[in-house]
């Protein structure tokens, strides 16, 4: 087992990893930018190194400085969390080359799966159901128009290197296709340095379902069932739950098998997520693989009882999985609300000084946050300041606990989206479930008079 791990991240996920390390009795090294010196992740860690100024690109994403910090601190391994360097194949590769374990999949896995078009082609070849679309990146408008014609409008233009909604365009009519491709290519080139795009059929009311996977270096692949992440806006998830109200046991089992097949087809190891899109008829399609631990992993931890971060660390240290597929059961229901520092109506960030921060407690409530009883939300980083997870024996109990938890949560000094979550929880469509990925947009349109 590792003796010392550097956590190449900040915020709640850095605390989450430090907590796992403490439980495994592994020393921790925090990195931080010069404005984060007093942050909770720095105070929780055994050691800390300042790696640059506030801007993430110069500190948390600064590969030479992060690796120098790892070297001078003498760590065996680096946990990247999510975001920042978590899906950077180059970073993983350099870690491998200097003999520091990257806690995640190999750099080849990241490279293959982060190219959405390539991943799509790979999965198609392995018999995984993918969304109807182009074979690889599109080449010119003429062939694209023919493909789109065949798929039927609306279609979606997606950047191969894309993520988080960037480099995507929905096209409803043939005459808009050329413009959409050009602007998606430009955006992708600017954002990711690679302008290649591909086409897929666009579903108007899909559900976003994802399967958590853990795979060890001995070839064992186990899935942890699904999370339903359909409550999202502009591809930013804000509520996740498990199990999904959209799945019955038959479909759940089949999707789980496909998810395992996806990961086995690339000989994956460590934590990953297989994302599916499901249409209104219950048909599902492979979308992509996220090659990292995700924000919403806690939902799965709560319903399965397994500590996914500790398992990531054990796998990276060469240990086989501590469970088999049959040991993983969904016990009850869990739901997560991402608490963001933002205007609850306009959903724009609201950084500033938090003058009071008091988290909910009691049965069935888990809070992951890096906020102290007071603190600062910096405009430099992500606006998510806490994850509130509620557990119940069934969905109604989980929802009732979440409502209570939101009511108990006190955040003063800045705005937060707690009131938005509260209103969503009161929405009859949401309560009845399931909802599609367009639910939140419609909800916001209806509720902002």
């Amino acid at each position: 087992m590792f003796k010392k791990i550097l956590i190449a991240n900040r915020g709640e996920i850095a605390l989450r990893v430090i907590r796992a390390c403490r439980e495994l009795e592994i020393r921790t090294v925090a990195i931080h930018s010069d404005i984060d010196g007093e942050s909770l992740h720095v105070r929780y860690a055994d050691e800390h190194v300042c790696v640059g100024p506030a801007e993430g690109g110069l500190s948390y994403r600064n590969i030479p400085n992060v690796l120098s910090a790892a070297e001078i601190a003498g760590v065996d391994a680096i946990h990247p969390g999510y975001g920042f360097l978590a899906e950077n194949a180059h970073f993983a590769e350099v870690c491998e080359s200097i003999g520091i374990t990257f806690i995640g999949p190999s750099s080849e896995h990241i490279a293959l799966l982060s190219d959405k078009s390539q991943a799509r082609a790979h999965m198609k070849k392995h018999g995984i159901p993918v969304l109807p679309g182009s074979d690889g990146e599109i080449e010119d408008l003429k062939t694209s128009a023919a493909i789109a014609q065949k798929l039927g409008y609306p279609v979606i233009v997606k950047a191969s290197a894309g993520g988080g909604g960037r480099g995507m365009r929905v096209v409803w009519h043939e005459e808009d296709l050329g413009q959409a491709i050009e602007s998606a290519q430009l955006e992708a080139q600017t954002a990711f340095g690679h302008g290649g795009v591909y086409l897929e059929r666009f579903f108007e009311d899909p559900r976003h379902l994802e399967f958590q996977i853990m795979a060890d270096h001995q070839g064992h692949v186990v899935h942890f069932h699904e999370r339903d992440c359909s409550v999202q806006r502009r591809y930013q998830k804000i509520i996740e739950e498990s199990p999904s109200p959209a799945l019955d046991d038959t479909v759940r089992k089949k999707m789980g098998q496909v998810a395992v097949q996806v990961m086995k087809s690339v000989k994956y190891h460590n934590a990953g997520t297989v994302e599916f899109l499901m249409d209104g008829t219950g048909k599902f399609y492979f979308m992509e693989v996220n090659t990292r631990i995700q924000v919403e992993h806690a939902v799965t931890e709560v319903v399965t009882g397994v500590d996914l971060i500790k398992e990531q660390i054990r796998i990276a240290a060469g240990q086989p999985l501590s469970f088999k597929q049959k040991d993983i059961q969904l016990l009850g229901h869990a739901i997560e609300c991402r608490i963001n520092a933002e205007d609850p109506d306009r959903l724009t960030p609201s950084p500033g000084t938090v003058t009071k921060f008091c988290t909910p407690g009691g049965p069935g409530i888990r809070v992951d946050t890096a906020m102290d009883t007071t603190g600062v939300v910096s405009p430099f980083y992500d606006s998510m300041i806490a994850k509130l997870i509620a557990y119940g024996r069934d969905r109604p109990e989980a929802l009732a606990r979440m409502r209570r938890g939101l009511d108990e949560f006190v955040i003063e000094g800045i705005q937060s989206n707690i009131s938005l979550h509260r209103r969503i929880l009161d929405n009859p469509d949401f309560q009845k479930g399931p909802v599609s990925t367009r639910f939140l947009d419609r909800f916001l349109t209806l509720h902002s008079a």
Binding site: D34, I35, G37, E38, L40, R43, Y44, V49, C50, V51, G52, P53, A54, S59, P64, N65, V66, L67, S68, A69, E71, I72, A73, I98, P351, G352, T353, D372, T373, T374, V376, S378, P379, F380
Partner: protein, 152 residues
């Protein structure tokens, strides 16, 4: 409120700030002020560095890391990267500079090794090396003060 009493309060606040106190507590009949700083248990909050908060809220601020209070009249050379600090180019070579030496802008003061690369750190101004703050072969982090220079 008259300016005089306002100043008193400001003085109090300044002390609070200077000594990293966290509390101005009112006790009993509301007429006693207790200035208090609790010893920090595990994970307890260190005092908030107000300058940092201010900085975090104003993206335009870009000056480098905090300087020791006693050296405010000197120029502090800080580490621009994370790595290992060396005072000389090789174990056998003489140090680039000693305390008391006069240096000119652009002169190499030390090397910081990062990822097997040797990065030369230069003087940012003419002046005298007042203090070398780090031992040779020591790890340094971003923004860590390395030299105090008295600009001349």
């Amino acid at each position: 409120m008259p300016d005089s009493s306002r100043r008193e309060i400001e003085d109090l606040v300044e002390l609070l700030n200077l000594y990293h106190l966290t509390e101005l507590e009112l006790e009993k009949k509301g007429v006693r002020i207790r200035v208090r700083r609790d010893p920090a248990p595990t994970f307890a909050s260190p005092a908030v560095d107000v300058s940092k908060i201010a900085k975090s809220l104003s993206p335009s601020v870009s000056e480098s890391s905090p300087q020791p209070v006693e050296s405010s009249q000197f120029l502090t050379i800080t580490s621009p990267i994370v790595g290992t600090f060396y005072r000389s180019s090789s174990p056998d070579a003489d140090p680039y500079v000693e305390e008391g030496a006069l240096v000119t802008k652009g002169q190499v003061l030390c090397i910081i090794e990062a990822m097997k690369l040797m990065n030369e750190i230069e003087a940012e101004a003419d002046g005298k090396v007042v203090k070398i703050l780090v031992e040779s072969m020591t790890p340094v982090e971003f923004g860590q003060p390395l030299f105090l220079i008295d600009p001349q």
